[in-house]
């Protein structure tokens, strides 16, 4: 071994004079000489290379730098080390390497202390070679020596760095002498706590067994020890492998420690899972077994209390499925299915039944491929379930379903059902009877074909909306009847859910409401008609005590003025308006009480003295039971009709009077005209039958007179006719001229000369009236005066007085003639009335006069004393102003008035 490179610094404790020669001696004496033979020899041999210094010199910086420069290890004994260790100013770390000479006891003192990494120990006693080696190692460690014992280093490295926890124990004391890092970690203790400790400190409760075991191993065996170690709160399972190793003829107990906690846990878990699986298989109701490809039983787990082949697994395992009592067809089915399952590599299910104890037991077996670790199907697993109860439930359910289907089919309403895709999948018998289709046909026809074209879009929209919201719906539409006509139905649908609670479509029913709808339409029509009626229509409730109105149409409001909102509930008697007269009121109440009809006119007086008339018809309404709970009344405003009627009645009265007058006129006229004609005829007969004896000229004169009379009558009739026919034409009247002309006209009269006419006209105010009519008046009066005058007296006279005013004219005509007897006075204005046989006229004259005066809105009065005379006083109004102009405009057109 080359040692030329070894340089070292030796430090010693000065105790008096020390020479280089006796350095070792000093050293040896200072330390335990007996165990330092090797060191003494080393120092002696290497005295040139070892520099000896004192502890204080080491603290000097220059010395330290020299040491680092040389890379020399520093040798010291425990005394000097502890001296320097306690000196805080000294830094061991700055030295390349420190080698301590330590005895066994001194090593103990250093246990548990944190020592510098560059510190090495040399156990004393040590030989020269061992010391050389240690120095070499320590120098190597310091990096100053290249040379190394690689092999040992590797082992040491392996030992320290091994992931295996390893330790060396003294075979005698059983104390730990060496541990590696993993051991520290395993026990979570520093090396210092482990070194010199016994295993019993780690496992206090197992001291005895550990020592026995270690003793046993010392004798040449190896051993495994399983011990629990409390690490903090954790309990670790440790496995000790203990063996004896020999190092440099020295035996050590080598211990390898493994933490087997996780492994134990895994084992435990595996065991538990296994047990769980087993107990699960045994606790479920399902039978579980495995078969190989040929149908041989490999495993068989049966549930406790199962009815299925309640035999122990021993019966099955190892036997073929054909040999364990299955019916042949069931076994065959199994074999076939096994093949299929393996071929297709997927599960299959088979249902079968077994007869047992007189009842049929149903099973459902799920057969799945059973693969080995390489994924190859070697056989099958079979999960076999007793489905007898399920089968029975299904059976019951099916019967129940059939029952409800029958019920639906015979249900008197039309019923349909749609699936989730909105297509109909069911129609009941009533529906099919309606459409006349068979179910298959009905299912094929679309809604569009079933419904009236006008209702389709609305129906589909409603259905779609109902599907979206899953809400019930109701709709009215027309549905095609088998007769081809469309009937109105009310169709109500609601979503339904299957037994699993999932939406399964809609179910609905239809009712034929055609009649109802027609009735409604009729009702609407009737109502509209009533609303449109031009007479007020009222429906009255018969409440015995009261008669409230339940309905009234618009026209009633028009008639009565009561707003439509107010009418319902009002008493009927208040609605028909106007304060009713007590008689009408009691008549209506009588009719209501006795459930009779009433017809009558109601006279209404409005505030403004306007009279209106209403016609009321009222009749009891009989219901189906012929009892009367309502009345219907029709009220119409007949004011106009009534006015027309009244006018008509007046007209009629007038007409009747006129007619009577006409009758009388015709009768009288015909007689008055015929009478002179017959006289003439009589005279002619006489003349014919007699020879001309001189009387003929008399007869002719008589005929002439008679004809004149007839002509007079005809003139009078024309005058009368004119007066009644012609409009009044106003002109300025020249009374003087009129009167004179009128008197002159009568000059032909026999005794005209005897009569004295006295005329007194005072017409300072122009008087306007109808010329022709005034003329007729004067003519008649003068004629009458002449004809009925008393010619026996000395001075028969006629006095005529006229006095005009802006208002009127007063005409007085008086005579001292025969007068008119009182009994005739009230008749003198009658047509063709003649008072005495002296009246040779027609008897129409005064009638015409009276008619004219009436027409001119005048007035006539008579005073007469028979035998003394008569006075007529005539009062005719004057018409100035506008009416004059009216005249002047019309005068030209009326030229033909003659």
């Amino acid at each position: 071994m080359p040692v030329s490179n070894i340089n070292a610094i030796h430090i010693y404790q000065t105790k008096g004079m020390v020479s280089t020669d006796n350095l070792m001696f000093q050293l040896v004496t200072f330390t335990n000489v007996s165990i330092c033979e090797g060191a003494k020899s080393f120092l002696h041999d290497y005295k040139d290379r070892v520099k000896t210094i004192e502890p204080d010199q080491l603290k000097q910086r220059s010395m330290q730098e020299e040491i680092v420069e040389h890379g020399a290890p520093v040798l010291m004994d425990y005394c000097i080390f502890s001296l320097l260790w306690q000196d805080d100013t000294f830094r061991f770390e700055d030295l390349p390497a420190v080698v301590l000479f330590l005895t066994e006891e001194e090593i103990e003192y250093l246990q548990g202390q944190k020592l510098p990494d560059n510190l090495s120990f040399i156990h004393l006693p040590i030989g020269k070679a061992a010391l050389e080696l240690s120095l070499y190692h320590s120098l190597n460690k310091a990096g100053s020596l290249k040379k190394s014992n690689l092999e040992e280093e590797r082992y040491r490295s392996l030992f320290y760095k091994s992931s295996q926890a390893m330790m060396l124990l003294d075979p005698k004391s059983h104390k730990i002498v060496e541990v590696n890092k993993s051991t520290e970690e395993l026990f979570d203790l520093p090396t210092s706590k482990l070194i010199n400790a016994g295993l019993e400190t780690l496992h206090p409760d197992k001291t005895e067994s550990i020592n026995q075991e270690l003793t046993r191993v010392t004798k040449g065996n190896h051993s495994f020890l399983n011990l629990k170690y409390q690490r903090g709160e954790d309990v670790r399972d440790l496995e000790y492998f203990v063996s004896i190793v020999k190092v440099e003829q020295r035996k050590w107990l080598y211990i390898n420690v493994q933490d087997i906690t996780e492994r134990e846990k895994a084992d435990q878990m595996f065991y538990q899972q296994h047990e769980m699986l087993r107990s699960t298989l045994e606790s479920i109701d399902d039978l579980f077994f495995t078969l190989n490809k040929d149908g041989d039983f490999i495993d068989y787990y049966q549930p406790s209390g199962s009815s299925h082949l309640a035999l122990s697994s021993d019966v099955f395992v190892g036997k073929n499925i054909y040999d364990v009592g299955f019916p042949l067809d069931v076994a065959k089915k199994y074999i076939q299915t096994i093949e299929q399952v393996i071929d297709e590599d997927k599960s299959e299910q088979i249902d079968y039944y077994l007869e047992a104890f007189g009842s049929r037991l149903w099973y459902s077996a799920k057969i799945s491929p059973r693969k080995n670790a390489f994924g190859v199907a070697e056989g099958v697993t079979v999960l076999c379930r007793d489905i007898t109860r399920q089968k029975r439930t299904e059976e019951t359910l099916k019967r129940a379903r059939d029952f409800y289907l029958t019920l639906l089919a015979d249900f008197p309403s039309m019923i349909w059902k749609t699936n989730t895709s909105k297509r109909a999948d069911y129609f009941n018998k009533t529906w099919l009877d309606f459409t006349g289709n068979k179910l298959e046909e009905e299912l094929k026809t679309d809604w569009v074909e079933k419904l009236h074209i006008a209702d389709v879009s609305n129906f589909l929209a409603t259905l779609l909306n109902a599907y979206l919201k899953k809400e019930p719906f109701q709709i009215e539409h027309r549905l095609k009847h088998k007769s081809g006509e469309y009937r109105w139905v009310i169709n109500a649908g609601r979503p339904f859910y299957n037994l699993e609670g999932q939406f399964a479509g809609f179910i609905g029913s239809c009712y034929d409401i055609t009649e109802r709808r027609q009735a409604e339409e009729l009702l609407n029509l009737q109502k509209s008609a009533m609303e449109s009626a031009l007479e007020g229509i009222i429906i009255i409730e018969d409440d015995d005590e009261r008669y409230p109105v339940t309905y009234a149409n618009k026209e009633l409001t028009n008639i009565t003025g009561i707003s439509g909102d107010e009418i319902p509930g009002m008493d009927f008697l208040d609605v028909i308006g106007c304060p009713l007269s007590p008689e009408t009121r009691s008549s209506i109440i009588y009719a209501l009480k006795n459930k009779k009809s009433f017809k009558g006119e109601i006279e209404c007086h409005n505030g403004k003295q306007q009279k209106s008339w209403r016609l009321l018809y009222m009749a009891p309404v009989q219901d189906e039971k012929s009892s009367v709970n309502h009345f219907v009344a029709v009220l119409s405003d007949i004011t106009e009709a009534k006015e027309v009627e009244n006018a008509l009645r007046d007209n009629n009265r007038q007409l009747k009077k006129t007619n009577e007058e006409l009758d009388r006129f015709v009768y009288s006229t015909s007689h008055e005209l015929r009478s002179p004609l017959m006289s003439v005829l009589g005279l002619l007969n006489l003349m014919e039958s007699e020879p001309d004896n001189g009387d003929r000229s008399n007869y002719l004169q008589m005929i002439r007179d008679t004809i004149s009379r007839l002509d007079k009558i005809i003139h009078d009739i024309i005058d009368y006719s004119r007066n009644s026919r012609m409009d009044v034409i106003y002109e300025n009247i020249d009374f003087e001229g009129f009167i004179q002309k009128s008197i002159t006209n009568h000059a032909y009269f026999d005794q005209f000369e005897k009569v004295i006419f006295e005329v007194d006209v005072k017409n300072g105010v122009p008087f306007f009236s109808d010329k022709k009519r005034i003329e007729i008046i004067f003519n008649n009066f003068i004629s009458n005066c002449l004809r009925f005058h008393n010619y026996e007296q000395i001075e028969p006279y006629v006095r005529i007085k006229v006095k005009t005013s802006p208002v009127n004219v007063l005409i007085t005509i008086s005579d001292n003639g025969t007068g008119i007897h009182e009994k005739h006075i009230h008749k003198i204005y009658e047509m063709f009335y003649r008072g005495t046989e002296k009246s040779t006229g027609s008897g129409i004259g005064l009638y015409i006069v009276k008619e004219i005066i009436d027409k001119l809105k005048g007035n006539i009065q008579i005073q007469s004393d028979p035998g003394k005379g008569t006075t007529f006083i005539i009062d005719i109004p004057n018409y100035p102003g506008n009416e004059l102009r009216l005249f002047s405009l019309n005068s030209v057109e009326d030229q033909n008035y003659l």
């Binding site: 009768y667 015909s670 009478s675 004609l677 008589m702 005495t836 046989e837």
Partner: protein
């Protein structure tokens, strides 16, 4: 025959003259009294009943249309006359009226035996007289 007495009641002088002549020509009577109003005729007949029954007319020719009291008015008064007159006199209506109402009304009267239309003709008088005789 000539002993027959006739009363003419008519307001028309011409008609009375013509009628008188026709009756005379018929030979029925020459004893013909003329009254121009109903009132004067009643008065005349009343007097006859008292003083001169002999002169009670066998036949009365009565006009209808007369002023004041007409033919029907006469008949009303006539029925109240003494029975001798009513028993003897035969009343013949003589009118220019061709109104059937007048005819009906006249013939309804028990004292009226005939209804003749003016003008009076000889044949009519003979016809009336013949019945009278019979």
């Amino acid at each position: 025959m000539n002993l027959n007495k006739v009363l003419l009641i008519d307001d028309s002088d011409i008609d009375n003259m013509v009628n008188k002549k026709v009756i005379e020509k018929s030979g029925f009577s020459t004893h013909i009294i003329i009254k121009k109003s109903a009132e004067s005729a009643i008065e005349y007949l009343s007097e006859l009943a008292i003083s001169n029954i002999e002169d009670i007319p066998d036949m009365i020719f009565l006009d209808i249309r007369m002023p004041d009291v007409d033919g029907f008015g006469f008949l009303e008064m006539y029925k109240n006359l003494p029975g001798d007159i009513l028993a003897k006199s035969r009343i013949v209506m003589l009118s220019s009226s061709i109104d059937s109402e007048d005819h009906k009304r006249a013939m309804a009267n028990p004292y009226v035996k005939h209804f003749l239309n003016k003008p009076l003709r000889k044949e009519s008088v003979e016809m009336v007289a013949g019945i009278n005789d019979g």
